[in-house]
Amino acid sequence: MTGDLLVQFLAQGAQMFMVLLIAPLAVGVVRRVKARLMRRQGAPLLQGYRDLAKLLRKESVIAENASWLFRSAPSLIFALTWVAAALVPSFASGLMFNWAADVVALVALLGAARALLALAGMDVGTSFGGIGSSREMMIATLAEPAMMLIVLTLAIAAGTTRLAGVADFFIAEPLAVRVSLGLSLVALIIVALAENARIPVDNPVTHLELTMVHEAMILEYSGRHLALIEAASYLKLVLYLSLLICLFAPFGMAPANAGVGGWAIGLLAWSAKLLAGAALLGVWEVSIAKMRVFRLPDFVGIAFVFGFLAILLAFLSRGAFE
């Protein structure tokens, strides 16, 4: 048992390391695809790593009236996002976090990271920080319940709220095409776009005040603090891509007790799917325009409505809990 636990622990550690390692590359792929589609040369694929290294080397300039909350928030936000990202099964389903937290806890961990970020945005007392935090929380009041409804729908379908259990269910029945799951997929994609500050909800490459949400909150950060927050947002992108992959394209993922060989195959499959997902995101971003902030409730509200319809259908078809 203890040896088993040790292997589990190491595998879990490997996963934590993997998501961290691949995250800047995924962002690099999105940027590169976008640049090429706009007929620009674009930054190298590894630019994400370079950005982080540069930010770490620079000094951190902190506003005079910043509090301890402002200084400690980045590492906490990073840690919360990192653990949340490690909860989502990537290359194998039977890892240690399999039992420590479930889908409800996953949503809540991301919520905790977001609350801290919004608080940090208000700490210095600038108008931009307030804009960002206020809009972020408005979007969250639509996206977070939508996300919760999606994961509850999946939990009802799979008969468990453990993420690995849900993943196992989808590995075992990859063709379990149901209307409620289709609605969940659309809703989850919208939530993923909103949560990652992607077009059409937010534009990660601009500092134009009318469109700023995420960027406005972190405007006062620089140096190593900014590096941590950027890394956390990279991780969040990997998290949502992994979630979509593990739920709706789980082929190749190693089931519980697959052994090292299964894990290697799973790792390759997961990396390929992740980078493909990032490329798709790039295509999506160049083919749609940014929305006005006050049209966002309609867009993210669609996710909420779809999530609600999905769980309603799951209830009416009486899920696997009987």
């Binding site: 770490l56 951190s60 300039v61 902190i62 506003a63 005079e64 009236n65 509090s67 301890w68 590492s75 906490l76 840690a79 919360l80 990192w82 653990v83 039992w99 420590a100 937290a101 409800v104 961990l109 919520g111 905790a112 609350a115 919004a118 608080l119 945005g121 208000m122 007392g125 600038t126 108008s127 931009f128 920080g129 307030g130 804009i131 935090s133 206020s134 929380m137 969250a140 009041t141 639509l142 319940p145 919760m148 509850l152 009802i156 468990t160 709220t161 453990r162 005040e209 006062e220 140096g223 190593r224 941590l228 609600f308 769980i311 309603l312 799951a314 009416l316 009486r318 809990f321 009987e322």
Partner: protein, 674 residues
């Protein structure tokens, strides 16, 4: 455990209650600094009562006493079972914290003979409600609790707002108590057995049970702030002194929930499935609306009071689900829902007391409760700010704090609802899940706003800039509660094991033993294969991840930090008025939710170019619940009483005719009835 073994515990309880009564009596006689004795004595009594309750809950004892006072022939029945003991722990924990906070009050300025005698009376009355074992004792102590708290609300009677709050509270408390009177009348039946043991032995028929449930929901719901019976709560709770607000919001609403649980799960006998619908629907509506009220309000204490309404709604949803599962014989799911309700009762009493004490500290330090005049308190009151942050994150149901534990259990209960056979519940449950998820997200937005505006940023008034940290006793009270919020979040499984006797009594089932999970502190719903939340493991990994990050960043980074002016896109403005305010923070939410729920209208008056007058911006929110359910009936009552006023000026012949007519009507009713 029998009557004999109980004697020492009963002595302790009696002595503690007696001490509270004596404290109340003596405090009416003395003035000035001498009043300071009230809080240490109350703290001691609350500690003793809480210890007895804890002993009763863990030891599984059930103690009864019958005193020859009260109604002739009935006497006074007292009983301490697992349910009473659990709620006793909740109440006395709150009283203890509020008393410790009270010890830090300014002896010269803040001790008044209008508050100190009533504080121990209020505490004793709440304890009496829990151990009452007959309808008379229950209603008597319930009224005592209402009146004591009413007197505390109008302690600052020179303020017209307080007077208005007190007036409304008195009316709503009267309506609530008369509803409870009907409920117990129905429970006692025509035979008139007012002892709870008699009622338990003869549960009422289905029709009477429905009426009793409705009356109980009105009686307890009005005390707890269930919408639409909530209107008094956001006025009355903030009007009282802050440590009393903490008691009213954190603790007295729990007595209301105790009343509902006692009636619906204990006295009414086996439930029918449709009993679940009213608490579920009302609770869910309350949860969402309560937060929408909170998120648009600008008064710190009123925001907290509205958030209390929300939490009471969440608890009622959990209770309703527990009723539905129990009625269908699904005990395991009923245990999950009931555990969610009870743990939320405990958790809410901790973080809401903490937040109200924090609001009291802010009020003490700045003299202001309007959010628009606060800001930057994290620099001037660092400890209060840290404790308040714990409370704000806990109430937003964020892991690894305690609010999330009950939230997690509640969502587990919601997704077990497809197994219920009734179609109505199939349609209701997804909507409930959606509303609970919405409420959780809104709570986060609400408390990010409160904390961000009051404690972060730059001070928006001179008072906020001159704020100072509060006395040590008050810091200890808040710090203790903050610790409980953290410990309760990490070791929710221990609390779940503690309430097992209550669950066994109410729903005949308990949560799975945490020993059957992977670690000793796993919280398990249904079975380990289905749902586990292991807070210590998650917290451990988050801590490890933070530490690793800090170490790595420390090694790799330049480690240089420079302080400078705020960047603010290159144009920092020194005026604190350029910050976001509480109103502007709520504006996006107002655009999304306010237009539908409150018919929010924004008007901007922009002067023509060259005109020197300032531009004006105003927002109008319509409170439909108030307009339809309170303002309209009160106008009708007023008009009716004006009409009836004419009855005072009749001649003697007309009075005689009226009396004769009344007699004839009554006699004909009697004839028809026979």
């Amino acid at each position: 455990m029998g009557y004999q073994a109980a004697v020492p515990e009963l002595y302790v309880s009696g002595a503690a209650l007696g001490a509270l009564a004596v404290a109340a009596a003596v405090a009416t006689l003395v003035r000035g600094p001498a009043l300071a004795f009230v809080y240490p004595l109350s703290a001691l009594a609350a500690f003793a009562l809480g210890a007895v309750d804890l002993h009763a809950l863990l030891g599984g004892g059930e103690w009864v006493a019958r005193l020859p006072i009260g109604l002739p022939g009935v006497g006074l029945h007292l009983r301490l079972d697992a349910l009473s003991a659990f709620f006793g722990i909740v109440i006395n924990g709150g009283v203890l914290a509020a008393s410790v906070y009270g010890m830090g009050l300014d002896r010269a300025k803040e001790l008044t003979p209008r508050v100190e005698p009533l504080f121990p009376l209020f505490a004793a009355a709440m304890n009496l409600v829990l151990i009452a074992d007959d309808a008379y004792a229950f209603l008597f102590s319930w009224e005592l609790m209402s009146l004591a708290s009413w007197a505390l609300v109008v302690a600052r009677h020179t303020d017209p707002e307080s007077r208005r709050a007190g007036y409304l509270y008195l009316i709503m408390a009267a309506i609530g108590t008369s509803a409870l009177l009907f409920a117990f009348g129905g429970l006692a039946g025509p035979a008139g057995g007012y002892g709870f043991d008699t009622i338990r032995a003869h549960p009422p028929g289905p029709l009477v049970a429905a009426l009793v449930l409705a009356a109980g929901l009105v009686g307890c719901g009005s005390k707890g702030g269930l919408i639409p019976l909530h209107a008094w709560l956001p006025l009355a709770h903030p009007a009282a002194p802050s440590h009393v607000s903490a008691l009213m919001s954190g603790v007295m609403t729990k007595v209301a929930i105790y009343g509902f649980v006692r009636i619906a799960f204990d006295l009414l006998g086996p439930p029918a499935w449709w009993w679940a619908l009213p608490p579920i629907v009302l609770g869910a509506v309350t949860a969402v609306l309560g937060l929408l009220y909170a998120v648009f309000d600008r008064d710190l204490k009123r925001v907290l009071a509205y958030s209390t309404i929300e939490n009471v709604g969440v608890i009622f949803v959990a209770l309703g689900l527990a009723l539905a599962f129990r009625a269908n014989g699904q005990e395991a799911a009923a245990a999950v829902a009931m555990a969610a309700a009870l743990l939320h009762v405990l958790n809410h009493s901790w973080f809401k007391s903490l937040l109200f004490l924090g609001a009291g500290a802010v009020l003490h330090a700045t003299g202001r409760r309007d959010l628009e005049g606060l800001g930057g308190l994290i620099h001037r009151m660092p400890r209060t700010a840290a404790f308040f942050l714990v409370g704000a994150l806990a109430i937003s149901a964020l892991p690894p704090l305690n609010g999330f534990v009950s939230e997690w259990l509640l969502f587990q209960a919601v997704i077990a609802a497809p197994a219920l056979p009734q179609a109505a519940l199939h349609f209701a449950s997804p909507a409930i899940g959606a509303m609970l998820a919405l409420a959780a997200a809104l709570a986060a937005a609400c408390f990010v706003r409160v904390y961000g505006i009051a404690f972060l940023g730059r001070p928006r008034s001179v008072e906020a800039a001159r704020a100072h940290e509060v006395p040590m006793a008050q810091q200890i009270a808040m710090g203790g509660l903050a610790l409980l919020c953290i410990a309760g979040g990490l070791f929710g499984s221990v609390l779940a094991a503690m309430i097992a006797p209550v669950l066994r009594d109410l729903v005949d089932s308990v949560l799975p033993n945490s020993g059957s999970g992977p670690t000793a502190f796993s919280l398990i719903a249904f079975d380990p294969e289905r749902s586990i939340y292991d807070a210590p493991v998650i917290a451990f990994f988050v801590a490890i991840a933070s530490l690793t990050t800090l170490l790595v960043v420390h090694r790799l980074s330049a480690r240089r930090t420079r302080l400078g002016p705020a960047w603010d896109c290159g144009f920092p403005d020194p005026s604190p008025a350029t910050q976001y305010t509480a109103s502007s923070f709520a504006q996006p939410l107002r655009r999304v939710y306010g237009a539908v729920v409150f018919a929010a209208r924004e008007t901007v008056v922009m002067p023509a170019p060259g005109d020197a007058r300032p531009a004006q911006f105003s927002v109008v929110l319509v409170d439909y619940a108030w307009r339809v359910l309170y303002a309209a009936p009160s106008r009708a009552v007023l008009r009716l009483s004006e009409r009836l006023n004419a009855l005072q000026f009749l001649s003697i012949r007309r009075y005689l005719v009226l009396m004769f007519a009344a007699l004839v009507i009554l006699l004909s009713i009697a004839v028809v009835a026979i």
